[in-house]
Symmetry: C2
Subunit: 262 residues, 2 copies
């Protein structure tokens, strides 16, 4: 191999797949992008960036596929960063997992094409919201499930969910109305399935508005307990008014399962 013809410090683009327990973090994104470098921000992105910079001995800017809120978890968050370092990806992975806190785990580290961008290239994402629908809660899943002691009718929830599938304006399910920004998204899949005491709500869309999943889940719960009717999910959608929808379901039940790329 004729190394002399290859620029020595070529920038590699590295893609990470990340799992995290979001309980102890203020979400994915570095807070405030403040200039105050001495302050530590307890976010997933910041934790990984700091450890990466230490391993690679250079400033690393980590790009995530998107934010997750405080307390939200991930099994398949995707992020990428550019580096001049020639360290093998297997060594980066090992170093990350040995230096990161135990509630953040790097599942894979791969070199990817130079133009891959984990946010802009994301075609869709899958979230799962998990409800424990039983008289008592679980000591082990208490941080990963929303415990609802009263009986939910998951079949009604599924029927209501079906009405939300497709390319629609989800303004009613958006926490904050960002002026001028479109609130149209495409929900490709939305299922409500019960397995014993557990109700899993799986949602796949090309993108999500702020708090959209948790507001949809909060609305489906109102339907499951009989407070709203099945068709109300369509009426709420049509109203384009956040006040019509159900409450925001707690963060802890939500998990980013997968990010899909073209």
């Amino acid at each position: 191999m004729c190394l002399s013809t290859v620029p020595k410090k070529i920038m590699r683009n590295i893609r990470l797949k990340i799992e995290y327990d979001g309980t102890n973090y203020k979400g994915w994104q570095v807070q405030n992008s403040s200039k105050n470098r001495t302050k530590t921000y307890n976010t997933i992105q910041q934790e990984i960036q700091t450890v990466l910079s230490r391993i690679l001995q250079e400033d690393v800017k980590l790009i995530g596929s998107g934010r997750t809120d405080a307390g939200v978890h991930a099994k398949g968050q995707v992020a990428n960063f550019k580096t001049k370092s020639e360290m093998p990806v297997s060594r980066i992975k090992r170093a990350l997992n040995s230096l990161l806190p135990k509630d953040i785990v790097i599942i894979s580290v791969k070199q990817t094409s130079p133009d891959f961008h984990s946010r802009f290239d994301a075609a869709s994402k899958v979230y799962r919201y998990q409800i424990l629908n039983s008289p008592h809660s679980s000591a082990f899943e208490r941080l990963y499930q929303y415990h609802i002691p009263y009986k939910l009718d998951h079949k009604l929830m599924q029927r209501a969910a079906t009405l939300l599938i497709g390319k629609k304006d989800f303004k009613s399910f958006q926490a904050v109305d960002k002026k001028g920004r479109s609130s149209i998204r495409t929900i490709k899949k939305l299922t409500v399935k019960r397995q014993g005491d557990i109700i899993n709500i799986d949602i796949m869309a090309d993108g999500f508005l702020y708090n959209m999943v948790r507001n949809i889940v909060g609305t489906l719960i109102e339907i499951g307990r009989g407070k709203f009717k099945v068709e109300d999910s369509r009426h709420i959608l049509d109203a384009k008014d956040r006040r019509k929808a159900g409450p925001t379901a707690p963060a802890k039940g939500l998990c980013l399962i997968k990010v899909m790329y073209k």
Copy 2:
């Protein structure tokens, strides 16, 4: 019903089934049985006793089926207590679950026969030890699994485990040699099963010596990684010498699944 012939303050015997995440506790048992009532002991028994005494407005002495060590979990711990209170069991359950910390959950509260004793009457117990045998650990199960990155041969472990089944002297697997006390126990079942990256070691016995499960697991791990041979489990047993066995596996992988009564 002629109430006048029934003593008003008859003592009821109440049986609890309890689930707990042992991570934040110094085990089941109240530490030190010290007279110093002002000191709080961070144990499961103490937490439940304190809340019970508050609910029932009387001093409650909770008897567990047995101790679990610091960091050990339970899905089916059994305990009982006597009370003069006439509060319905459903109300006791509701009150307990609303006042206890979220890592302790009362699964059931039932009135039982006056002579039931959760420790003396226990015929056998089932523990599960869970190993995550994969290159990287799990952000979600990190407190409930022992992560081993090097490959374990679960079939060798199962063969070695079979040699430990039966009524035997488990002195080699006992942490502390309590003078004069018998170290003979009967292992009724001991299985090692792999499901993907997870290895479950299930053990049922009429009783367990201090650290017995964790010492057996530590020994089986040495066999699974090829450091000990399959037949060594019998040789270690025969030696009646703790120093011959493998190291004590960490507490966090261990969970008391079930207590069985005659």
